[in-house]
């Protein structure tokens, strides 16, 4: 939803009146200072940490500033299966989420449009999971699913898909809600089959929602470490890159490794997202 909102409001800005800029400065300064201090600076710190070398003392968690770029090669060499697994899981779960979410969003945004009360109720049902702890919901699947399935690739992807259905459904709903149904009618008047009409009219017009939804699911999915952890739906054969980052930061205190893997994760996401957005022809979304 964030992506949709971002693009929608950016367009309204040119009407803004020019005013004395010190007011703007007063409004902006505290928040921007906060973001520089607690978002940008930590990000830079992450890059610095990723290049650190172990200290001579050899103590756990002791590292010194260095420019040890070999950290990256070493991390990739050792953890490429985890990196690969994360993105394979995220891609499959995103596609599964799309297949489940699109009909749901279509039902609410198009079929239920003449019935506002039902539409409102259906929307509440989609948002409902946000109001109950996502850890408890994920844990519930551990008990609901057959125990033979728990700890497999399937259960982790199942959990990831589940966690991000609302993030997929809501943006697609938002764009389908704005779909002009006369265009769909026009398609069938021109003897297009329902499938052709869907492919040529409905789907292209809902693409902004599809792009937002897939990004809003894919990005957090690829960094998730709850579903794949042994306490939840994973096992020793399913760790994702998030699990490695968590364990190396909080347990083994190998801060450079955690930082290196974080930067690698971020870089791969950036490349995938940039390629995807360009391919889907909705560059103006970002």
């Amino acid at each position: 939803m964030a992506f949709t909102a971002f693009s929608a409001t950016a367009a309204a800005a040119p009407h803004a009146p020019r005013k004395r800029s010190w007011t703007a400065l007063i409004l902006l300064a505290p928040g921007i200072a906060y973001m520089l201090l607690f978002f940008l600076a930590p990000f830079i710190q992450l890059v610095i940490t990723s290049l650190q070398a172990p200290a001579d003392t050899g103590g756990i968690g002791d590292y010194v500033a260095a420019f040890q770029f070999s950290n990256y090669a070493a991390a990739i060499q050792e953890y490429w299966p985890h990196i690969l697994r994360s993105f394979v899981y995220a891609v499959i779960a995103t596609i599964a989420g799309l297949i489940i979410s699109y009909p749901l969003a279509y039902l609410i945004g198009v079929r239920l449009r003449p019935y506002p009360m039902l539409q409102g109720l259906a929307l509440i049902l989609v948002i409902a999971p946000f109001f109950i702890s996502f850890l408890l919901r994920t844990l519930a699947w551990k008990q609901i699913l057959p125990s033979e399935v728990i700890g497999t690739d399937f259960s982790v992807i199942f959990g990831l898909t589940y966690n991000f259905i609302p993030f997929m459904t809501l943006p697609i709903f938002a764009s389908l809600q704005q779909l002009d149904l006369r265009l769909v009618e026009a398609g069938s008047d021109l003897y297009a089959s329902p499938v052709t009409t869907f492919r040529k009219v409905t789907l292209p017009l809902s693409m902004p929602g599809v792009v937002s939804g897939t990004l809003l699911s894919f990005i957090p999915m690829s960094g998730d470490y709850v579903n794949a952890s042994r306490e939840f739906l994973g096992s020793t054969s399913t760790p994702m890159i998030g699990n490695v980052i968590e364990a190396s930061f909080l347990q083994t205190q190998n801060y450079p490794l955690a930082a290196t893997l974080s930067i690698i994760l971020m870089a791969i996401i950036l490349v995938i997202v940039a390629t995807y957005v360009r391919r889907s022809g909705t560059e103006d979304l970002l």
């Binding site: 906060y34 930590p42 979410s101 690829s222």
Partner: protein
Amino acid sequence: MKHFSLGKAFVPVVASVALIYLLLPIFYVIAFSFNDAGRNNITWRGFTLDNWTNPCGAPNVCQAFGNSILIGVVATIIATVLGSAIAIALVRYRFKFRSTISLLLFTPMATPEVVLGAGLAAQFLLAGVEKGIGTVILAHTMFCISYVVVAVKARVASLNPAIEEAGRDLYASPGQVFWRITLPMLMPGIIGAALLSFALSFDDFIITNFNSGTANTFPKFIYTSALRGVPAQANVLASMVFIGAIILVIVVQVVRITKQKRLARQ
């Protein structure tokens, strides 16, 4: 026509399955809040109201819950004030680095939480700040600001500037225009942003885990007790939040619809 009828059935069937998929774990969590489980709330052992009459019965669960509320409230207040101010400035004023600032606010939403969490933890480590409730509040405020800006920006952009102009024409000072016209009109957006911000903070686990040290929160409590079995009291507290939020949403919806109907009649 055969295709068409097939399509007609396809959408409701898949959508119903999707809704069951979404809601089944919620029913499970609520049902198991009534489980006569003792310490092991994994298998069903019979119905009881004991957990509901004594939601703080399990060790640490209410303390963790209280911490989560405290963190959520403080982070929401700071993020809503800072974020709303930014949103107003971004829509209303022209200045240098406008798109850079937008990018700075937008990037946290497009960054996996594990990266945000690790970055902040690395920073606190370097600065020698001891991790606890304070560092969790700092972390939550950071990502909440982004969401507040997005939510409030939409509201500011949809405001009709003519109403504020009318205020100025009637000799209201800039301060009076802001407090008596602009802010009240922005309120629905700001309240919505605050609720979103609280919900995000309250349910956050990934960033919290990196920055909380020994301080406990409700999601962290669930995570650490997952292996031994989460006590039924956690289900009770989560169900209370769920039921409260659903009632709140329904009340807001009903108020909105009756307001619209009243306006339509006039």
